[in-house]
Homo-oligomer: 431 residues x 4
């Protein structure tokens, strides 16, 4: 890929979140505070990071947002769907992530965001009980309703472009089935209420069929199925996922490369998490946890390449646990124990305790992903956006390639892709 | 730099360690065990790592040692200097890093390594009291003795080439003075016993004046002074340092880039260490600790670029402590507490407890550095080897450039340099 | 209870362990090493602790073993049952707790300890597969075989007295049923192979019916059922249990009293464990874990008395996890996170990481319990020995009383009981 | 001591704090909130704890405050001295311990507390610079001013009784000198401005000479000198100290007894603290730290009795560090690493990370100590109150006795003393 023609970011950009809970409201409130000059969007590459252009000695380090034609925060409009009727202000208070002081500064804007009725199916999220939901005889008709929601939102808010981002709970694990393998099968399944079509599939189909980028923040397959690749190709739409890489997994994709570059061996890696928000409650259900576990476990193997280094990584015992623990609410804590070995096999240990905040870490990722997929759309880049792997626990990738999990390689890839897009040279650190 | 003509690694390579203590004996014993097939040199890039050549789809991943003409382990011979007379086997038992079982497998080879008398000066290492030391009226004459030692060793062991590596204790902090600024001043100082010329300067001058590569594993300035750059240029000799990057600092150069790439802010970073070996004892002296502290503190600032990101890194309170704690001996423990902040400034914390082994982590670095500087010498690369920054806490660099501390950038640079050396394309991760 | 007449500890004391695995062999080897003067029985109250007699100013602090007529280590003889045939030396090597160096010093004595065939029932320990087991048509006849084993052992080793101690795995959780409620029902059940009678019941019945003290180191009910209380009363036999209090629970019974005496409130307590020995493997089975969990959970509530302090302890979220993690073998690690609150409800946290060794902590408890129950037997103290609560996670107690979990109250009780036994005044710390 | 005649708690009790900073204002605000029913005084024994009276089966567990004639919170009045003029409301905001929400509920009462000018001497607190200080030619005259302050306060607030409590910073270490050894020498020294008489001595002399109880919350000697014992005896005044036992030391006096009762050995104990409040700033000065260090180090030895258990505790390497670390403000963090050993000397480790809040832990201690010393005064108990050792890092004790550091023994002693005071039997846990 060389320099590309990127369409201008003119007019309003509508951002529709599936789920108006802790993550979505933190994302919305923070974005609104930022554009009022009352908050700093810490964690956001699009808003804060710089990028080296040219040789080191040229000393050109513009902010990414000044070098690349991203949508302006003043042009974004928020909407979303949720299974509860409360508006974004109430939902944010309930989520208890941001202080009342911070929330009240954008109270009016937040209160004006009224969620649309959600597509909900108890079979896919056992621990939640929605009250603000759509009904229709078939999943296809539910999908039609979602499309109508989007149309209405676009018109009412006078939007030029829309992006849809999944900020909802993890759905029950569903293996790839025949119904997911072709667009025809998926469409048939929607019409016949196939049991393996999750609510997330309904939203995604609606968006992508309209040419609207879809971002998947949870480990559900959703757009990571051949049927959706087909649809994305057909409608020339960017898609990406899966599962925001925030706390413990972000750390793993940094520590694993450390051990690997230093050729230090591993015997075991034990990870446990405690969290008390809705996400924790949902993951207390074994079905939902299985989806998450798959997403979390593959990371290490992919980075360590045990097939290449059997002496070092051929026998890593890797275990991941998530524990619902209400005293903490959104204040997640991840504890990792790593059993490593060095020179001649001598044993060492590392323990990491990360006292983080789930939604605080996820919010800037939402912002970046929305702005970057909107950019991709305008740049004519459709299908799987693997240059956005940086943001995901289980990055989607072309079937012919393997996923890249190493956070630093992902970051180089992201920036070099941006450099290429604007016709600058890529960087290889040789000097 | 394009492909270069690299001289063949024929004949014996003599490795002379300054200091035959915990690090050096662990390095020696492990290398000997490895070449007998009785140990795996975990942690060594030269022995274990692979390197991608060409595009990803070419699927070429040779071991570095098969792609690059490094010296063979069967061709290395060990020697060294120490302030105690005991042979390397006794010294290794005393250091108590390796098990008796492991040591006894190479007992004869280790016992045959008798240290040469050391250049010692109580003013530079307050907590140790050497008994096996050289004496001479001037530092210049001490230097001449070291040159003679090297000549003798080379002849006795029939060596083709020599590398000298500092594995000794940290010397007292000495700021850059006039005597270090030109070769002429240094030579004059050696002859006039200038008080600011440390023992390490004596070894380094001897080696480099003979065209022998010198590697500095401690934070002492030694070869990181203009006088030595001048000498290295004159004799066409590779030099590198400073201070092996092993436990806590290695971790910092991985976690800092994580925060940085993710644009997460920092308020403070508190690091404490407990260790009970000779190194711990030496660092209990405030003068020696100051040298180390300088080496440890600069890392974070360099990576975070507070001048570019004042909102995120403009006010990081960074504190490093080292505590001599005999119950642990060589089993070092580093505890880090990091105060970070995310979206809108919300606070989070990370704590890392690294139960490591000092010499186990340092030994493979010694091996790699010796083999890579020997390679550099044969490739005609003289002066500061900044492509070896990967291995050092305070990487030496051209005065016109800044140091690169990010472990992953360092690693890309190292591998891309090797690729260039053998005429392969560099890698930029774009695909 | 005042001063009592204690029978003399003359002749040999036979110690029979049910299970000759990690705990039992560590206990045996350590006891043998101690009496050879080649090891210190660290952790053993009977061997090392002193006891104040009289007022503080009298300055009388004899060792407990000098003040109380305990059996001498030179008079103990070891035997046991196991589901594998290997002798105690082989079993100890397999368990990999003690170094070869230590084991080899008592190789002959250990190798001479050949386990007798075990009573085994796959239904009660799902993850193990015994090969060295008894067979008989009924549990009653198995019990008769155990009695015969004991008789034979006593005769062959010329023992004066015997104590039986359970050092085996945790059995599957079995709730208290009718068959456990009266001696008559239990005996009938043994004869009719009632499915709720576990192997441990068979051993216990055999021992107690012979007047032999039985100590229960696992959470299985075993002697904590009315039928066995009845039998113990009838045969005048001391019994005690349940579940050795070693790592994490020991800590809990110390930290909980700290919070309680300081009136600091608790919101939550999350405990996780990683261990890789046979015990860890057994506890990976949900049935066995349930038995353990019950034993571990009750501790906190009992100490904190939420009914008395609803504001402080009325809503403690307590979760305990055990994870089988092979890289660690017997080196257990317990990580605790405690969410506490102080003055006006302000929140604080405490985290404890205990890198312990399961069998090393359990072995001295075995020794003390054997010697103390033998003492109790000679002192005519039969039935539940609640003064030994100090050693157990779920201390047995009279049905009319509550268990005492506070480690320090337990310890005062133990020592004051000993004081009383020898006619000394109890201590109340008033001066 | 048997039952005593305790004077009634009639009229107002004036509480004067030396220092109106983080600890004092948190204490004041919390007490005021409690009596308004707007806060729970968590951590306070006098307000929340119950006490068993009689045998366990009698089931009598009254609250201590109902069984013992303590002053009522409605009868307390606050005042104090500080080196800054700001009122208690401003000082509390500045200290940033309590939320604005909490503070504003008692804004008027807090704002009405105007500190009196302090006795200040730069030599004793190097890092602070007072602006609201007394001046006089001699320390004796400063003392007279303090007495006058107390008289005025008592009259203005119509108090029946007064207690003075030191809540100020740690003073520079001053060894016991001749001037501290007799009352006569002290008085002479006050008049002659002896350099070893600290400001705290001036306050203490003033109070005790008036028969007013004095509580020492810092490690300064103050009332722990023979001169003050003499004065306390002469004026029949209770005195107590030294140094509130809050975070890490509280934990030590719980963990040490755990190791000790279990006869587990220790090789080393490393403790480090990070804190960022004024206390942390003061302790960054080596002189002040020395005072604190002495207070912190003795604890372990006293509990472990190495002279009785040389094999277990004869060689414990104990190190304590305090680090000023501004990012944390009042949120102190203590990290402990303990190297222990068990059966046969096998090594284990324990790490404790306590994320606590300095003033939140200290405030309830202030309340309890004030109420208990006022009780002691009315009960005619003068001199050193060693039954209050529970609250102090370095408990004062009669010269003929040793200090008791074990938190649980201290607690039994406290409660048994209260039981005696009201004519109830003491408890020995035998049944």
């Amino acid at each position: 890929m060389g320099k590309v023609q990127v369409g201008e970011a003119k007019g309003k950009l509508g951002i529709l979140t599936v789920g108006v809970g802790a993550v979505a409201t933190t994302f919305m409130a923070g974005t609104l505070l930022t554009r009022k000059g009352q908050g700093v969007p810490v964690g956001s590459i699009t808003q804060l990071a710089t990028m080296r252009l040219g040789k080191r000695e040229e000393n050109r380090f513009p902010k990414i947002k000044d070098a690349v034609p991203l949508a302006d925060l003043n042009d974004v409009v928020f909407g979303g769907w949720d299974i509860f009727e409360e508006d974004a202000y109430e939902a944010a208070k309930h989520a208890d992530v941001l202080t009342r002081d911070d929330l009240d500064k954008v109270k009016d804007e937040m209160a004006a965001i009224k969620p649309m009725r959600a597509v909900f199916d108890q079979d896919f999220v056992k621990r939640l009980h929605g009250t603000w939901v759509k009904s229709a005889p078939t999943k296809w008709e539910l999908m039609e309703q979602v499309k109508q929601d989007i149309e209405n939102f676009k018109k009412e808010n006078n939007c030029d472009r829309i992006v849809v981002i999944w900020c909802g709970s993890t759905e029950v694990f569903t293996p790839l089935g025949e119904v997911h393998k072709t667009l025809a099968a998926l469409e048939k399944g929607l019409k016949e209420n196939h049991k393996d079509i999750a609510p997330s599939n309904v939203y995604a189909y609606a968006a992508v069929s309209m040419g609207i980028p879809y971002i998947n923040g949870a480990p559900n397959l959703t757009v990571d199925i051949p049927a959706m690749w087909e649809l994305a190709a057909k409608t020339q739409t960017p898609i990406c996922g899966k599962d925001f890489k925030t706390g413990q997994t972000m750390l793993k994709t940094v520590l694993s490369p450390m051990f690997k570059t230093r050729m230090l061996g591993l015997n075991g890696w034990f990870s446990t998490n405690i969290l008390g928000n809705r996400d924790g409650e949902v993951l207390d259900d074994p079905g939902s946890f299985k989806t998450k576990e798959e997403s979390k476990l593959s990371v290490i193997d992919n980075i360590l390449q045990p097939e290449l280094y059997p002496e070092l990584y051929g026998n890593v015992y890797h275990k991941v646990r998530i524990n619902y623990y209400p005293p903490r609410n959104d204040d997640k804590e991840g504890w990792d124990n790593i059993d490593l070995f060095g020179w001649l096999g001598y044993k060492m240990q590392m323990k990491v305790d990360f006292l983080c905040k789930d939604s605080i870490l996820a919010a800037p990722l939402c912002l970046d992903l929305v702005l970057f997929t909107d950019l991709a759309k305008r740049a004519g880049m459709s299908g799987i956006q693997d240059w956005l792997s940086f943001y995901f626990k289980s990055p989607m990738h072309e079937p012919s390639k393997v996923a890249e999990h190493d956070l630093f390689i992902q970051y180089v890839k992201l920036k070099n892709t941006l450099r290429q897009m604007i016709g600058e040279e890529t960087v290889d650190f040789i000097d």
